[in-house]
Symmetry: C2
Subunit: 213 residues, 2 copies
């Protein structure tokens, strides 16, 4: 498979972690988000959304999967061990809700595309960063509360990392990048500390990617 | 079960359609988004995100599910017939990606919360509506392209409605609400026309809810 990503795209980073947790290797192609390479015609043919990540499959006539959570669920269905989701429906719903609280309600509201849109409206860099900081801090505070019904650690929902954890760690990186206050999310930080002990998380980190600047 | 919603919340609307497609009934409680009732302490105890929808279960000690797509997948796993997702992993990934292209990349960037945030930065109503219009038009154009590998209609991915369709119809309502140009998305409009023939979609519509204004 070929993973189309960018070192600092948190959505692509989620899929890197998922591949690593599954023990799967991929060829990596990098598209420079700040230079707009995700809007090149060649990439738009792969993903008309012009977003990262995209996963090109070997079989299935080169099918291209988009949307990080859909890709992770595909990897989980086609390579079930180790699982990214628990087996029981209620537990699965909790993990998915936590992942979506990040992937729907935090990340898309603070990503480069939205910050560029704010810039076009005349907001300066400090105002744009403040927007990102507020969105992230508010969203992570809710995630902290969602974990109150978690599985007791060390990971978000129990003794093994999964879909929730692979969303959380990249979002905390963005939180620091924009200077969000993390003092209100001690549970999330404990989960992160457990995750970054694992090679699957370590080798997926942005600064370990060949396109890191 | 108790569904916490609001007539014009497109995320709650998705779950109403899912319940209808499954033939499941629910007690409905409404929280007035524009009056901020979703931030009342009583509701925050149910959903710390302060967002709609939330689904309170009868069993499982009154567990509360959040995030519309996670709720829909829970309903699909616990009531598999009729299915909201196809059975084959690649086909499931395509449907989920389409649903997430709306639920992650369009709706959260144009919802009331973001428009209020823009208002607090000084944008007037016309500028806020233009923001929503642009986000929706750009996102739906990508959805139109994603359907080029769809299942041939009449619904997004084949002969029966599912997770993609129940995201699409509410988003098209929002598109019209903000005056987005829909001339570039004929496939989406054909799918919508097929959906609104079905009672499951008709009875879930905003103007059919008791809290409609």
């Amino acid at each position: 498979v070929i993973l189309h990503g960018y070192w600092r795209s948190t959505a692509a980073w989620r899929v890197r972690i998922a591949l690593n947790l599954k023990g799967l290797s991929a060829e990596h192609r990098f598209h420079h988000l700040r230079r707009g390479e995700q809007r090149d015609a060649g990439f738009l043919r792969l993903n008309p959304q012009g977003l990262l990540p995209a996963l090109e499959l070997d079989g299935d006539r080169g099918a291209v999967l988009t949307q990080s959570l859909a890709i992770c669920e595909y990897l989980d269905e086609t390579h079930p061990v180790p699982p990214l989701l628990p087996s029981e429906p209620l537990a699965r719903a909790r993990v998915r809700a936590f992942a979506q609280a990040i992937a729907c309600d935090i990340h898309p509201v603070q990503n480069l595309k939205v910050l560029n849109r704010l810039g076009a409206l005349g907001l300066d860099e400090e105002a744009r960063n403040a927007w990102a900081r507020e969105v992230i801090a508010e969203g992570l505070a809710a995630c902290e509360a969602l974990l109150a019904v978690g599985g007791g650690g060390p990971f978000c929902f129990g003794p093994a990392p999964g879909l929730a954890d692979l969303c959380l760690v990249p979002q905390l990186y963005n939180a620091r990048r924009f200077g969000a206050d993390l003092s209100a999310v001690p549970r999330l930080l404990r989960v992160e500390a457990a995750c970054v002990e694992l090679p699957a998380f370590q080798t997926a980190a942005p600064d370990r990617q060949p396109d890191a600047e």
